[in-house]
């Protein structure tokens, strides 16, 4: 496991996802907690990585130091009613972490899941958290909360024992009740918490329940607040209404990198109730309703000066040029490439067949169905912003910086959000809403339009990948040289045993704003690698599955490959005419994946050019192993969702741009997967109760694109090396 952890740490350094910790560190005082929570018992969870001496170990809570540890991951408050309130800076964006973290706490504390309430992503109420990304909630936050709950359970048993005047070891806790052996003495959680005013720091060395003994975790618990969603009652950011709230609208530049020449806002300012806000290059309006805001924004005449900017056609040449200036990142090999092993020259000399190919991936958009939204409200000098973000504390820092105000004057609250997929790490909408609210002197809601979301958010990086390889006729891969330009280093490592390898990531100057995305570059790197592996298998006339198994020793990867292949029926039957089978596998963020896809070549739909064919993914079997499964229901759902989302990037999603403009900023022109693109999906869970759980929101996306590309080759003999594979349909020669 040590090796695994170091690999995980390395993977975490993906440049598009790395965000620094703030350089401040608040001191928490016990009295603050008591003031904030009132009666009951608060359990403080020191941060997993904080140095031991900072953790305040051994503090009893009664007469202990006033000062608490600086680095805190979470806290749990047992209120006087016996309710368990868990405070974490993580956020819920559809990955169902609210449910799975609740399961972990309920499991450890021995209380019903519905007595656990998570307070998430509120910078005034929850401890600092870097953000909800990198599939970290399950492997890091869940064990922390488990530790807290386990410690809380033991401390509560001791308190109950004192109240009941029995030995602690005579008591156990079942369904939030403390019982002795013959149930002659019982107490509820509420009876123990009643009238208390305690803040306890949990010890670090507490043992947590192992997966084989889980009772609530490991079960398919339903989405905890599903009823609120099916009735439309849940309030996303864009549903929040505040007293006296106005509606905002930002006037966008004509193109990226445009400079402002002149503004004429007279017509807009003359409209009733409208206020125009200009501040440097920021131009926005507030109005009593959404329509008036839009009308006013449209009435502002602005002259922009735009520089000439690149188009799609030049993209891949541009990306091959090394990064310059500040945008450049950390130089060659930075951010996750590995040290070369052996010699590529020797490896190629030992090969019977050599292969050199280039693969590309386009920019794609996250297109969360809830676009960026924020409601901002100033009360005196205190700013509160509700916004959908994966990084509440990051947004808070942006606000602190933008308005030059102290940290304690900003509160960011993230209501459970209409998805993110890595696309909501930034706080631009929050800053804009706050600027408008400041000018208006009233709360302001700002919801980006779909076009704004497609244009002014950021994209998954495009990239170019060159691979040079050699293979012996017996199927042994002898050389592997891999260069990724711009797309990123996630998932760049190989699990193939190749003695001579050289794997590098090269940062570039991206012509478009780019950032995190579900799985990051792991999709691009897996697409290139697993396509190329398929090409090598064909070069030596070997079955693609057999070829992979010959070159992979890692048992966890072999297990998922074999599981997926078996259930798919790989090698058992040939695809029917016009169909193709493809296979791919991979590893990322602690999860192992294998995907088998069946595609069909069909007549064009209205989305393909008339002379082309439609490629439809009709069946996918995907095996996934991410350690111990916390919730099989939501894990399957994540796998199915990731596969469906992957179909878009694999087949047709692509941002088109020219001269600083996005050419397809609408769902009508940027095609996303719909019902009729959705295949039959079989998600196979390989549950390893002996291995700690890894996150699962991202890795299931990485295997689909190469499996589909390989299936297209299988059906047609055509090797496609660019994502999206068939943006306008498959060209028939």
């Amino acid at each position: 496991m040590i090796e695994e952890q170091s690999l995980l740490d390395e993977i975490e350094s993906e440049r598009y996802e790395l965000f620094e910790s703030p350089n401040y560190n608040f001191h928490f005082a016990r009295r603050d907690f008591i003031k904030a929570f009132g009666l009951g018992i608060v359990f403080i969870v020191p941060a997993a990585r904080a140095p031991a001496q900072q953790r305040g170990q051994g503090e009893s809570g009664r007469g202990g130091n006033e000062r608490l540890p600086n680095d805190i991951d979470a806290w749990i408050h047992i209120n006087e009613d016996g309710g368990v309130n868990v405070f974490t800076g993580k956020v819920e964006v559809g990955q169902n972490t609210r449910t799975t973290l609740s399961q972990s706490v309920a499991d450890e504390l021995h209380v019903p899941i519905d007595s656990v309430h998570l307070v998430m992503g509120d910078t005034d109420l929850t401890p600092f958290d870097m953000g909800t990304f990198g599939s970290r909630s399950t492997p890091t936050m869940a064990p922390q909360l488990r530790k807290a709950a386990a410690a809380a359970r033991e401390m509560l048993i001791a308190m109950a024992a004192e109240q009941l005047q029995v030995e602690p070891k005579a008591l156990r806790i079942v369904d939030a009740r403390f019982l002795n052996h013959d149930k002659s003495k019982t107490l509820t959680l509420a009876e123990v918490a009643k009238g208390r005013k305690l803040v306890k720091v949990i010890p670090d060395d507490i043992a947590i329940t192992q997966p084989k003994d889980w009772t609530i975790a490991g079960t398919p618990a339903a989405k905890i607040d599903a009823k609120n969603y099916v009735t439309g009652k849940h309030r996303y950011t864009s549903d929040i209404k505040r007293e006296g709230m106005l509606y905002g609208k930002v006037v966008r530049p004509a193109t990226f990198n445009a400079t402002l020449v002149s503004v004429d806002a007279k017509a807009a300012e003359a409209m009733p109730g409208v206020k125009v806000v200009t501040d440097g290059t920021f131009i926005g309006v507030v109005a009593p309703d959404q329509q008036a805001a839009t009308k006013a924004a449209n009435a502002i005449a602005i002259d922009w000066k735009s520089p000439g900017q690149p188009t799609n056609a030049e993209l891949f040449d541009l990306l091959r040029k090394p990064a310059t200036g500040q945008k450049g990142g950390r130089g060659e090999g930075g951010g996750g490439g590995s040290r070369p092993q052996g010699s590529i020259t020797d490896g190629l000399a030992a090969a019977d067949k050599k292969l050199e190919q280039t693969y590309t991936v386009a920019y794609i958009a996250h297109a969360p169905l809830e676009p960026r939204a924020a409601v901002a409200e100033w009360n005196g000098d205190k700013l509160t912003v509700w916004t959908g973000s994966q990084r509440p504390f990051g947004v808070k820092s942006e606000l602190v910086e933008a308005f030059h105000i102290p940290e304690d004057k900003v509160r960011v609250i993230v209501p459970d959000t209409g998805s993110g997929y890595g696309g909501k790490h930034t706080g631009e909408c929050a800053v804009e809403a706050a600027r408008l609210a400041k000018a208006a002197g009233k709360p302001v809601k700002l919801v980006w339009t779909r076009e704004e979301e497609f244009t002014w958010a950021y994209f998954r990086p495009a990239g170019v990948i060159d691979i040079r390889s050699g293979v012996k006729n017996d199927g042994t891969i002898t050389a592997w040289e891999f260069h990724n330009y711009n797309s990123g280093a996630s998932g760049i490592q190989i699990k193939y045993d190749i003695p001579n390898n050289d794997i590098r990531f090269h940062p570039s100057n991206s012509p478009l704003r780019q950032g995190s995305y579900r799985g990051l570059a792991a999709t691009a790197n897996h697409f290139a690698r697993e396509s190329h592996i398929d090409e090598l298998a064909h070069a030596v006339n070997m079955d693609p599955l057999e070829f992979r198994l010959k070159n992979i020793k890692d048992d966890r990867l072999r297990d998922v490959l074999q599981a997926a292949a078996k259930s798919f029926g790989w090698g058992k039957a040939k695809p029917e005419r016009g169909h193709g089978f493809g296979i791919a596998c991979g590893f990322e963020k602690g999860g192992y994946i294998a995907s088998c896809a069946e595609i069909a070549i069909e007549p064009p739909s209205d989305k393909e050019e008339k002379t082309n064919k439609r490629v439809r993914v009709i069946r996918v079997v995907e095996a996934f192993e991410c350690g111990a499964v916390v919730n099989p229901l939501h894990l399957r759902n994540q796998i199915e969702g990731a596969i469906t989302m992957a179909i878009g990037g694999a087949l047709f999603e692509s941002i088109q741009f020219e001269n600083g403009k996005i050419l397809n900023p609408h769902f009508a022109s940027y095609r996303v997967p719909r019902f009729n693109d959705s295949p039959q999906i079989e998600a196979l869970l390989v549950d390893r109760k002996d291995i700690p759980s890894a996150g699962a929101g991202e890795t299931p996306i990485v295997g689909l694109a190469p499996a589909v590309a390989n299936a297209i080759f299988n059906a047609t003999g055509v090797r496609l090396r660019a994502l999206p594979l068939v943006g306008k349909g498959l060209t028939v020669s």
Partner: protein, 160 residues
């Protein structure tokens, strides 16, 4: 500009005071605080804003409120009766047919219109009927399952 002064929403007559050209979605959300219907694109492309207008699935974001005056408007808030969930709402929970759930209201409203025209749709008919609604989280197969469950067609296929 013509004004709309009342709307029939979820069986109730509600007073409003809006221009007839304003989108029905904006009136429902901003004036009537019925925020279950969502803005996803404003262009009728994603279906998150779907409501029923005299029983017909309608994209409220591209429907002027004037066109809804005098008609029966049903939103997601009007589906449950006396705290009892509609069979589609139950089925969406049962099939775990959501992730972020931002599309869920629109999905359920589109599905309810589909089932009123075709009470026992097969999977293909569901796909065709629902194709205008986007679930970016990709829970399509679960939504198909949910619609089959709600229409009393639960099969082994549904057990995932």
């Amino acid at each position: 500009m013509a004004k709309v002064t009342s709307l029939n929403v979820n069986g109730k007559k509600l007073a409003v005071d809006v221009d007839s050209t304003v989108s029905l979605l904006a009136v429902l959300r901003n004036d009537l605080d019925l925020t279950g219907s969502k803005y996803g694109c404003g262009e009728g492309q994603c279906g998150a804003c779907t409501i029923l207008l005299d029983g017909v699935a309608t994209r409220s974001c591209i429907t002027q409120v004037g066109r809804a005056a005098g008609k029966q408007i049903t939103t997601i808030e009007g589906l449950d009766r006396d705290g009892k969930l509609h069979p589609l709402q139950e089925a969406f929970i049962k099939a775990d047919a959501m992730q972020c759930a931002y599309c869920t209201s629109g999905m359920i409203m589109s599905a309810s219109a589909l089932l009123s025209k075709n009470p026992k749709p097969n999977r293909e008919e569901i796909v065709t009927g629902m194709n205008g609604n986007i679930c970016r989280c990709g829970t399509y197969q679960r939504i198909v399952d949910a619609i089959q469950i709600a229409s009393g067609q639960a099969t082994k296929e549904v057990t995932r």
